[in-house]
């Protein structure tokens, strides 16, 4: 059986790249539609990546060897996260721990930052320290929500509350009163904003602010390296939306429709794709077209102040609901 | 018996108060010394028995003797506090040579 996992390890990432680029294309298309303009074709990201891979790769004189290695590490770490999450509605290829996934989520942006600071350009240095500030910011609400959820599973007596399998087992949102649903919606709202932050989408895109710091972290990247970072961005979109699916919508459609075998797989993956699509649209396409960029200082205040309070409020409401029921 | 206990606590308290209220390094070292004397006094009076003689066995009258162990503890503590005070005094000499003053505010160079 283990060779099946080996094949899955090799195949899933490629599927994830295609899916991610497709989602990015849809994202730009929907954003354009929202601003009443036609927007690029859906397959535009594929053309972008192909163009980047054709272009020359310029390595600045002052940069160290890490500059060339980090795009690789960023993509590899995202591939690994995909294996540990229930991608395409199927059960995860490798069984992992929620704390492990939380920490592994740091690796891609850390690789991007290390690449940025060793690229030698002051713009990239400012961009990467903004990215780290952004990372320090969004970790707080993210960690609070995930640890509360596993504590909730723990209070339900689940054996291994941190493993992904116990999250997808649906025990989490089993007995929820109306109050609990309100709290869960609040947590979902905070989670969507945190995801927009992790993807450094407009309200939180201080690190790759085109106007202020000339392209931010990837100022000095070009050619293949920039292509890899583009793929990493697409993969991150897939990973984060899958994470929200695991946390908030772990149920599959096939059980509901009662079809089995291969059709169940296809139905599940289509339902998964719809969930991911809707999450992406609501989390950052809507935000991208409606909100302008925050300053770096407001960024940390937003995360550690208002978003954290919101998540604590949501947790408190769910806690009351748990006590009542 | 209780009076000596309270007295030694008072001596320790004054020594510790001296450490935080004085601005001169030498006074801090003196404060530490006083606190050490307080602890020594407290240790010695632990073994005290009314009417007992010092625990010296040679030519001792046949009277009950005071407990020897706390005195051994006090002896070691005196030696240790002597070494620490000597070291701290030489360090304060060195600080004065390097920074020209003994005031803890000027000497406090290592800020945040």
């Amino acid at each position: 059986m283990w060779w099946i996992t080996l094949i899955e390890i090799a195949v899933f990432p490629i599927v994830a790249i295609l899916l991610g680029l497709l989602l990015l294309g849809i994202d730009r298309k929907v954003a354009a539609r929202m601003q009443r303009r036609v927007g690029p074709p859906i397959l535009q990201p594929f053309y972008d990546v192909r163009k980047l891979f054709i272009k020359d790769t310029v390595i600045p004189k002052k940069s160290t060897w890490i500059f060339d290695f980090m795009p690789l590490l960023s993509v590899v770490s995202l591939f690994i996260i995909i294996l540990y999450l229930p991608f395409m509605g199927l059960s995860p290829v490798l069984h992992g721990d929620m704390v492990f996934i939380l920490y592994l989520l740091i690796l891609p942006s850390l690789a991007k930052v290390l690449g940025g600071i060793s690229s030698g350009s002051p713009y990239a240095a400012v961009g990467s320290q903004r990215e780290i500030t952004n990372m320090m910011g969004y970790e707080f609400p993210l960690v609070t929500i995930i640890f509360f959820m596993s504590w909730k599973l723990f209070s339900f007596g689940v054996a291994k509350p941190f493993s992904v399998a116990s999250f997808t087992s649906g025990v989490m949102w089993a007995g929820l009163g109306t109050l609990g649903i309100a709290g869960a919606l609040l947590l979902l709202f905070v989670m969507l904003l945190v995801i927009a932050g992790e993807l450094s989408r407009p309200p939180f895109d201080v690190s790759s602010a085109g106007e202020e710091i000339a392209g931010g972290i990837t100022a000095e990247y070009s050619g293949r390296n920039l292509g890899l970072f583009y793929i990493a961005d697409a993969l991150k979109l897939i990973v984060l939306t899958t994470l929200v699916v695991v946390l908030f919508f772990p149920f599959g459609i096939s059980g509901f429709l009662g079809i089995g075998g291969w059709f169940a797989l296809i139905a599940d993956s289509i339902f998964y794709f719809i969930k991911v699509l809707l999450l992406m649209i609501f989390s950052e396409t809507v935000l991208k077209t409606s909100v302008s960029r925050l300053k770096v200082t407001q960024l940390v205040n937003a995360y550690w102040g208002s978003l954290l309070m919101l998540s604590l409020l949501g947790i408190f409401i769910i806690f009351i609901d748990m006590v009542l029921s | 018996m209780q009076i000596v206990f309270i007295l030694s606590m008072a001596v320790i308290a004054t020594g510790m108060y001296a450490c935080i209220s004085s601005r001169n390094i030498i006074k801090i070292i003196i404060g530490l010394g006083i606190a050490n004397y307080g602890v020594n006094l407290f240790l010695v009076q632990l073994g005290y028995k009314a009417g007992a003689i010092a625990p010296i066995f040679t030519h001792a009258q046949s009277l009950p003797m005071v407990l020897p162990t706390p005195q051994a503890l006090t002896l070691t503590n005196i030696v240790i506090s002597f070494a620490t005070t000597a070291l701290m005094l030489s360090v304060s000499l060195f600080i004065h040579k390097k920074t020209g003053s003994l005031d803890i505010k000027e000497v406090g160079g290592l800020k945040e």
């Binding site: 080996l6 390890i9 090799a10 990432p13 891979f53 054709i54 272009k55 020359d56 790769t57 310029v58 390595i59 600045p60 004189k61 940069s63 795009p71 993509v75 590899v76 591939f79 690994i80 490798l94 069984h95 721990d97 929620m98 492990f100 690229s119 350009s121 002051p122 713009y123 240095a125 320290q129 500030t133 320090m136 596993s150 723990f154 941190f162 493993s163 201080v206 000339a214 100022a219 000095e220 050619g223 293949r224 890899l228 200082t297 407001q298 960024l299 940390v300 550690w304 | 510790m16 450490c19 935080i20 209220s21 004085s22 601005r23 801090i28 803890i104 406090g108 290592l110 800020k111 945040e112």
Partner: protein, 108 residues
Amino acid sequence: METYAGFWHVEWFLTAFIILFFITWLIKSLGDKKYKSGIQEDIFLSGHQEKEYSDYIGSENLYWGFKESLRRYYSLMKKMHNGIISEYIFWFYISILIVLTFITFGVI
């Protein structure tokens, strides 16, 4: 490795890492072969580069955003770590009081 509420398997992570590293390296090598490796260019600077590299962003003003948003916390920290020995000892006395009251009144 079993922990109280989770688990961690190094070997799965390492096999996945090696395989995926190889796959990503393949994807990267898809790039343009003809490119002359190591075209040494100057970094992009809107103006003339007169200063040595590290003078641009010293380690002092990294994380300016984070320090700025936690301004009150850091000013409190500066007051707390002001280098005066009697302040440190004062904190020690406060901790003694806390521990003694805590331990005598047995507040769990």
